[in-house]
Amino acid sequence: MIKIEVDMNQCQHYGQCVFEAPDNFKLNDDDKLEYVAEAPDSERDNIEAAVDVCPMQAIRIVE
């Protein structure tokens, strides 16, 4: 299991992560980010891609 942390003080809700890991990240009706903090190991590549594309670098995988 992968644990994900998003610094919601940093997050500007750009939603770039949504494309990389749609199972874990989405923008809600108010354009705010919602995320699921755990992902199966099979999602690692997608989660790492989401970390990379965050303009605010607000996403972190907790190892």
């Binding site: 809700h13 354009d31 990379d52 303009p55 670098q57």
Partner: protein, 408 residues
């Protein structure tokens, strides 16, 4: 040309985001040999966009913007504070400004851009914002009441204007353009942006250039081409950028605008041949993107160093593995979606695609109201090639999908 020395490292020139992503991608793609990253800044790779926005508004530190270092990067060698001065593609060597000549097995070109400067005598109070050091120097002068002239009205200039204004400075934009951000956004949206920036207290002098920067020990005023004089303590020059290609001159690569690459991010020589052992990443790379057409373009958007770095790393790793996978990896589709965003006061812009491909007649409002929240479509030959949201995000996603699928 001699055979490549397999004991020599892959040398990545440029230690910013593109170089970092290329190194990470080499490792993730299974390359276990030596990697050396050569960069002219002393700082390890960091994220630039906050330098004009969030970070500039608070404390500018490397810690606040540094990219996290991944475990697989532990044995990558960083040679920082050293500038590349020449390359020999036949001998496979790189010369740096400290006089060293190093051999490489493969080369990744990731030297990016530098801020263009106005052609005036040096004087205290003149600034650009490209690097962390630039932002630190500027931050110290953005004090309450400071009179700031921003030269140029692209995204960077407008963001810096908003940030300086929020810090209590009085801000004037001076620009040769008719409207702010008109080149990427088009006339319709740019006019609205002027209205909003004006409403926030930013004055915009358009259709003018800077004739002189006057002062004694430091900047005192800026003289415009129409004779007006604006009193100023700080001048921020955001007048575009130039490619860092001087070290590649005479190498035989096509340097007509940045460095030409094919869709696998392999560098292309002036006689049209792609090199399997030389790659180009980031905003210096002019490459074709089949999402739009086969015209090679440089794209100065934040996501491009990451996308091209990953692509170059994967293709190069396959070349070095020499396991028969190379042709398949090269043939994999590579069509990165350009995306950018810009926050200015409470104005939040977000865009996908290539807005600049389009003429003013082909820009249409898709949803919403230009004076409030709006989604704007950019069409070429009736195909959607770009979408801009002002205060809209999730609503853009179907349009993004449409662009990715060819615009119909």
């Amino acid at each position: 040309m001699s055979e490549a020395n397999p004991a020599a490292p892959v040398v990545i020139v440029g230690a910013a985001m593109g170089g970092l992503r290329a190194a990470e991608s080499l490792r993730r793609s299974g390359y276990t040999g030596a990697i050396r990253v050569v960069g002219d800044e002393l700082h390890a790779p960091y994220n630039r966009p906050p330098l004009s926005k969030e970070v500039l508004a608070t404390d500018v530190t490397h810690e606040a913007v540094a990219f996290p270092s991944r475990a697989e990067m532990g044995d990558v060698e960083w040679m920082l504070g050293v500038r590349a001065s020449a390359v020999d593609l036949a001998a496979r060597t790189l010369t740096t400004d400290d006089g060293n000549v190093q051999e490489w097995r493969a080369l990744v070109i990731a030297t990016g851009l530098r801020a263009r400067r106005l052609d005036f005598a040096p004087i205290a109070g003149r600034h650009v914002v490209r690097s962390l050091d630039d932002a630190m120097a500027l931050r110290a002068e953005l004090t309450v009441g400071a009179r700031v002239v921003v030269v140029g009205s692209g995204f960077l200039g407008c963001e810096l204007s908003a940030t300086a204004s929020k810090l209590g400075c009085s801000v004037t934009i001076v620009t040769p353009s008719v409207e702010p951000m008109i080149r990427p956004l088009g006339d319709l949206v740019a006019k609205e942006m002027r209205r909003r920036l004006n409403a926030e207290g930013v004055e915009i002098f358009s259709g003018v250039t800077v004739a002189a920067i006057n002062g004694g020990a430091s900047v005192e005023s800026v003289e415009l081409s129409d004779g007006r004089v604006i009193e100023a303590d700080v001048v921020i020059e955001s007048v575009g950028s130039d490619c860092n290609i001087e070290w590649l001159e005479g190498s035989g690569l096509d340097l007509s605008d940045g460095v030409l690459a094919d869709n696998a991010m392999r560098a292309v020589t002036a006689d049209g041949r792609a090199r399997d052992d030389v790659y180009v990443v980031g905003d210096i790379a002019r490459f074709p993107n089949p999402m739009f057409d086969d015209v090679p373009r440089r794209i100065e958007h934040w996501n491009i160093p990451t996308d091209t770095g990953k692509r170059a790393g994967a293709v190069l790793a396959a070349h070095l593995a020499d396991d028969g996978s190379f042709d398949d990896v090269v043939a994999k589709p590579f069509a990165p979606m350009p995306s950018f965003w810009s926050n200015q006061f409470e104005i939040k812009l977000q865009a996908y695609g290539l807005l600049g491909l389009v003429s003013d007649d082909d820009i249409r409002i898709l949803e919403g109201d230009l004076a409030d929240q709006v989604a704007v479509g950019y069409y070429r030959d009736d195909r959607l090639v770009g979408v801009l949201g002002v205060g809209m995000k999730a609503a853009l996603l179907p349009y993004r999908k449409q662009i990715a699928e060819g615009g119909n």
